[in-house]
Each structure stands twice: as structure tokens, then as C-alpha cells.
């Protein structure tokens, strides 16, 4: 088997137009499955021990993953999709269920609820500018 690329903690991911994200998280909540053209799509709240983020599922991913599932992402992308900042597998990425339940998580910060801007030192890169909301504004917490 190929050596596994190191997993990034969610808090270290930065928006970029590259399929370069390898990470593992637990799915906390799922929105409604909707149709975008002929493809199913569904927004989910996911998190690891360091941060939370919105995860955009496509096609059969929408029914394959359920809250409580631990998912491994390889070569995924964190970028804007219709003005929303989301993590998704994209065409070259892969999302696979590797377990259930036994993973710790935090619900704040939520990287999709942060305003990002160009890095003054390197305009090709993004840096955090402001916190729009500490928690997801799309998914409410069950507490």
C-alpha cells in the first residue's frame, strides 16, 4: 500500500484552489439532500479535536455518510462554492468512512464561518481576517 500522507488537523486548513487536504473528522449533522442539476448535494457539519467546518457532500456521498461517522478525506479541497466556504472531495478527492463515534471534536472555531483575505506577504495565499460567527450559523447545536 502507498504510504499515507500525514493528516492535517482541521484548524490548519486554509482555502486554496488545490486538492491538497488530507484529514479525518467526525460528521456531526446533515442538512437536507437537494438536487443541483442532476447531482444530489448535501451540506454537513463536521469537526475534529481542533475545529469544525462545513462539508459539502455530492452524489452518493449524501446517503453514504450519517452523523457519528468518522470520515477520512484524501486530496480534498477547501474553497468557495457559490459564495459558501466548504470542504469537499471534488473530482480528484476521496471521502471514506473509517469508523464511528469514537472521536473527540469541538464545534468552534468553524472555519466556514471565518472571513478570509489575501495574505499581505503572499497574495496567492489566504489568511484569517475575522470571525463571522464562532459556531455554525447553518447547523444548531443540540444543547
Amino acid at each position: 500500500m502507498e504510504p499515507e500522507p500525514t493528516l492535517q488537523p482541521l484548524k490548519h486548513i486554509v482555502p486554496a484552489a488545490q486538492n491538497n487536504i488530507n484529514t479525518k473528522f467526525i460528521l456531526l449533522d446533515k442538512g437536507k439532500v437537494t438536487l443541483e442539476g442532476q447531482y444530489k448535494t448535501c451540506l454537513a457539519l463536521v469537526a475534529d479535536e481542533t475545529a469544525a467546518v462545513h462539508f459539502q457532500m455530492w452524489g452518493d456521498e449524501c446517503n453514504a455518510f450519517e452523523p457519528g461517522d468518522i470520515i477520512h478525506l484524501a486530496n480534498d479541497i477547501f474553497s468557495y462554492s457559490r459564495n459558501n466556504l466548504v470542504l469537499r472531495a471534488g473530482k480528484r478527492g476521496k471521502a471514506e468512512k473509517v469508523g464511528e463515534f469514537t472521536m473527540s471534536f469541538v464545534e468552534t472555531p468553524n472555519l466556514s464561518e471565518i472571513r478570509w483575505g489575501p495574505d499581505p506577504c503572499d497574495s496567492r495565499k489566504y489568511v484569517q481576517q475575522a470571525v463571522i460567527s464562532p459556531y455554525s450559523r447553518v447547523f444548531s447545536s443540540p444543547h
Partner: protein
């Protein structure tokens, strides 16, 4: 194919190693078999390859097993250990034909007295889900009770203790199986389970007594079944019927603490790992989502909720957190039990839940029992006062109902057990005093009066100090987990 892999599910590492060994060695798995002695690594690979062959090629299973018998040099220890791993980690994913083969090869391992075959049987019994009346689950029940019944003499001779485990499992399953009537096929299974348990109790009571006091708890849940009602009567009034030396009174069973091993028998490894994760890694206040997931997976159907009783026994007796965890922000055991009590169960399950929570209180003896087994109940009562005094009230009330009714002829034993339990909890610093209960304005005066009476009536010299805050208790508190006897 060994397991069902769903869309977007990662391959399983255990399945990969078995499949790879099989693919690699496939040409060598057909006769004539080479006579060369394999190296240690080749030997392990060959074990894996044969195992995969046995499970996935039913038509060649006899050839594979013959091959295995010819090469084995470790008493089947490695072979059995992978089987156990498969059962623990993959059972619920196994393809149906593989499950059939698994039972077949289990019979083989029993026949050759493989090292660890008893652990394999225990692993299989743990996969039987209480309150699940699905065909697959009932099939596994049938296969297991059939195995124990058909090899009865053999087990008595070779590994009698595994029969005690089987008795615990089937008595507990019968409580569920005797409550449903409308399920086809269950009648024959139920009768086999009854026959097995009745034979154990009638002919091998000394093996049954190994279980300890929880044997009584399980039996009492079955007194509505004629066979068990008769046994129960004999246990109370006609002990000579059992021809067991040294057994003169049922209170001897009360005084034997049940080993934590038995409680694991009635929860699946998956439930166990999720419960342990909750109580070791999740902070108090962050548990809500986990609770929803756990309930959705294991408690969604009303008939499945009887497993809550087993979970409560598991939490009280088989999961004892370290002092480090007790003093951290991790969710405490009493809070988990508080949640389980509120899971919306039928009255008789709720009564059984409370009995499970207080069971070790009734017979508590500092020489035998561990204060950690009774800790969740006192903390749940005390900590529920501010917001959920109804919980405190119903628990304390239930405790007194038990004292009055659980065994009318042995009230003294229960009284001694419960008052010793209160004493130990204060003396070991689990609670600083019982003031929270005895002087709680929100509790009914009747309950407070009974509690006061219970504490003052006992002949223990320690009791008066229960009402005084113990100065040293804060230092004692740190160490109370070490104070009891270990399992």
C-alpha cells in the same frame, strides 16, 4: 468475500491481511500439500490463508481444515485468536455465508480443544443482541444454544466454566424471549434455551453459583416461566433437590459479588467501546451528540431498550474510571446513568434499571464489594437534587421498596447491606456526608425519616458521624477508587 463493504467505506485492515495471505498462498492450498516445515512467518501466513479459505470457500472447507490439522504446531492458538478478532471486529459486517462457516469452524475448534476456544465462544455470545428478534440474531442464539446442548458432556469434562457464561447469557436472553409471543420460530428456540438453563440449574448448580448474586437477579426476572418458578421454589425451600454440598441458603449467593466478566457478556464490543469512550474522552456538557448517536444505533426500537439494564450493570461494575478521570471534566458515570434512566422505557424495564443500579447495595460487604460499584447511585441521587429532585426521590423510594420487598425472609441481610453501603460511601469520601439527602427540603419528609431511621438503627459505630461533615473527607476523596477490592 468476507464482509459487506458499503459505498464510501474504507477497506478493513484485518480483512485485507487475510485476503492477501489467501491470494498469495492460494496455489498451496490445494492437495497435495507440501511436507516442508514452514518458517514462523510462513506458518502465520498459512494460518491466515487457510482461515480465509475456510470462511470464503465453503465447498473446500473440509480440505482446508484437513490442511490446517496437518500443519498446526501451536495448539490452534493463533488460528483461534484471528477468529476471535474477526468476531469482535467484523461480525456484524460478515457476509451471511461466512457467518455459517464461522459457526462450522467454531465446532471444529471445540472438537480439537483449540487453545482459546472458550474465548471464541464468549466472543460469539457477545454478538447476540438482547431484544433483537431479527432472523439473523435469533439464528445465532439457536446456533450457540445448540452447540452448548449438543456438546454438554464434553464441556462439563473439558471447560465447565464456559457453561456458567452460557447460562448467564441465556437466562438474560430468556427474559426478552419470554416476553414476546408473536414471533414465529421463537418458540422452539425459547424451549431450547429453557431446557439448557434448567439442566444447568438442576444438575450443575455448583457451576451456576460461580456467577454470584446476579444469578438471582436474572432468575427473578423469569419467575413467571413455570420451569424457573419451580427452580426458584426449590432454591428457597428445598435445597436438597440440588444435591450441592455446602449450599445451605440462598443468602450464600447474595454474598458472592458477580465478576465484571459476566456483565461484558451482555453488551456487544461495539457498545462497550462507545460507552468506554463516552466515559473516558468526552467532557461533561459535550455529550449530547454522542448520546443521540448511541440511542439511534442501539436503543431505537422499544424492545431493544432492555439492554439498558445490562449497560447499567456494566457501568457500575465493569467500568471503574481512574482518579485522574474522576477529577477531570470528563462526564461522570452517574450522569450517564441519569441519561439512561430518562430514555423512555416501560415500567418493568425502569424497575429493572433501578434494581441494576442498587443491586450491590443490597448485599454490600466491605470485605467483598467495591465501593465503585455503588458510587454511581449515591452520586446520581445527590447530584440530581438541585435540578431533578424527582430522580432522587424515585431512586430513594425504590431503595426502600427493595428493602421492604426484595426478600421478605432475609430483610436483615438487606438492611445490613444498605446501611453498610451508606457507611462506606461516607467513610471512603465518595460523599462528604449524607446531609444533602437527610436535610433536603425538596425530599418528602417520609423518605427522610426512613433514611434517618435506617442510619441510626444500624449497629455500626461509624453511623453517628455520617451526620457530621467529615473533616478528612476531601483527602480521602482523592483515593476512594483504590479503596475497594479489585475485580
Amino acid at each position: 468475500m468476507l464482509i459487506k463493504v458499503l459505498l464510501h467505506e474504507a477497506e478493513n485492515p484485518l480483512e485485507i491481511t487475510l485476503r492477501e495471505a489467501f491470494c498469495c498462498l492460494e496455489p498451496k492450498l490445494r492437495p497435495p500439500f507440501p511436507l516442508t516445515i514452514p518458517t514462523q512467518q510462513d506458518y502465520l501466513d498459512l494460518n491466515r490463508a487457510i482461515l480465509y479459505g475456510v470462511l470464503c470457500e465453503p465447498h473446500f472447507a473440509k480440505v482446508h481444515i484437513k490442511h490446517l490439522h496437518g500443519v498446526i504446531t501451536d495448539g490452534y492458538e493463533y488460528f483461534t485468536s484471528i477468529l476471535i478478532k474477526i468476531v469482535n471486529e467484523l461480525y456484524f459486517k460478515l457476509v451471511d455465508s461466512v457467518k455459517r462457516q464461522l459457526i462450522w469452524v467454531t465446532h471444529e475448534m471445540v472438537n480439537v480443544l483449540a487453545v482459546g476456544f472458550d474465548d471464541l465462544l464468549v466472543a460469539l455470545m457477545r454478538q447476540i443482541v438482547g431484544g433483537d428478534f431479527g432472523e439473523e440474531n435469533l439464528w445465532l442464539c439457536f446456533e450457540m444454544v445448540n452447540l452448548f446442548t449438543s456438546k454438554w458432556d464434553y464441556f462439563i469434562e473439558e471447560e465447565p466454566l464456559v457453561l456458567s457464561s452460557a447460562l448467564y447469557v441465556f437466562l438474560r436472553l430468556l427474559a426478552d424471549h419470554c416476553r414476546v409471543l408473536s414471533i414465529p420460530k421463537i418458540e422452539a428456540l425459547r424451549q431450547m434455551e429453557i431446557d439448557f438453563c434448567e439442566r444447568m440449574l438442576r444438575e450443575k448448580l455448583y457451576l451456576c453459583l460461580r456467577i454470584g448474586r446476579d444469578l438471582v437477579r436474572l432468575l427473578q426476572d423469569l419467575v413467571h416461566v413455570p420451569e424457573f418458578r419451580a427452580i426458584w421454589k426449590d432454591l428457597l425451600y428445598n435445597l436438597s433437590a440440588f444435591r450441592t454440598d455446602g449450599f445451605v441458603d440462598i443468602s450464600q449467593i447474595y454474598s458472592t459479588r458477580t465478576s465484571k466478566f459476566y456483565f461484558l457478556l451482555r453488551i456487544t464490543p461495539e457498545m462497550e467501546s462507545q460507552m468506554r469512550f463516552l466515559m473516558s474522552d468526552v467532557n461533561f456538557g459535550s455529550q449530547k451528540r454522542y448520546q443521540i448517536w448511541f440511542a439511534k444505533k442501539f436503543l431505537a426500537l422499544p424492545e431493544r431498550k432492555t439492554v439498558l439494564v445490562d449497560i447499567v450493570r456494566f457501568i457500575c461494575c465493569a467500568h471503574h474510571p481512574s482518579n485522574e478521570i474522576i477529577h477531570s471534566d470528563i462526564i461522570p458515570r452517574w450522569a450517564i446513568i441519569g441519561w439512561l434512566l430518562k430514555c423512555g422505557v416501560k415500567n418493568y424495564v425502569e424497575a429493572n434499571l433501578k434494581l441494576a443500579l442498587f443491586y450491590d447495595w443490597l448485599f454490600f460487604d466491605e470485605n467483598v464489594d467495591n465501593v465503585m460499584n455503588i458510587e454511581p447511585a449515591i452520586l446520581l441521587m445527590v447530584n440530581s437534587i438541585p435540578k431533578y429532585v424527582d430522580v432522587t426521590h424515585s431512586l430513594l423510594e425504590f431503595l426502600f421498596i427493595l428493602l421492604d420487598n426484595y426478600d421478605i425472609e432475609r430483610k436483615e441481610i438487606l438492611l445490613r447491606g444498605v446501611s453498610t453501603a451508606f457507611c462506606s460511601l461516607v467513610r471512603k469520601g465518595v460523599v462528604q456526608s449524607l446531609d444533602a439527602l437527610t436535610s433536603c427540603d425538596m425530599l418528602s419528609p417520609f423518605l427522610k425519616e426512613r433514611l434517618g431511621k435506617l442510619l441510626s438503627e444500624t449497629q455500626f459505630p461509624l453511623v453517628p458521624s455520617l451526620f457530621v461533615k467529615c473533616e478528612k473527607s476531601s483527602s480521602l476523596h482523592t483515593d476512594y477508587t483504590k479503596a475497594g477490592c479489585s475485580n
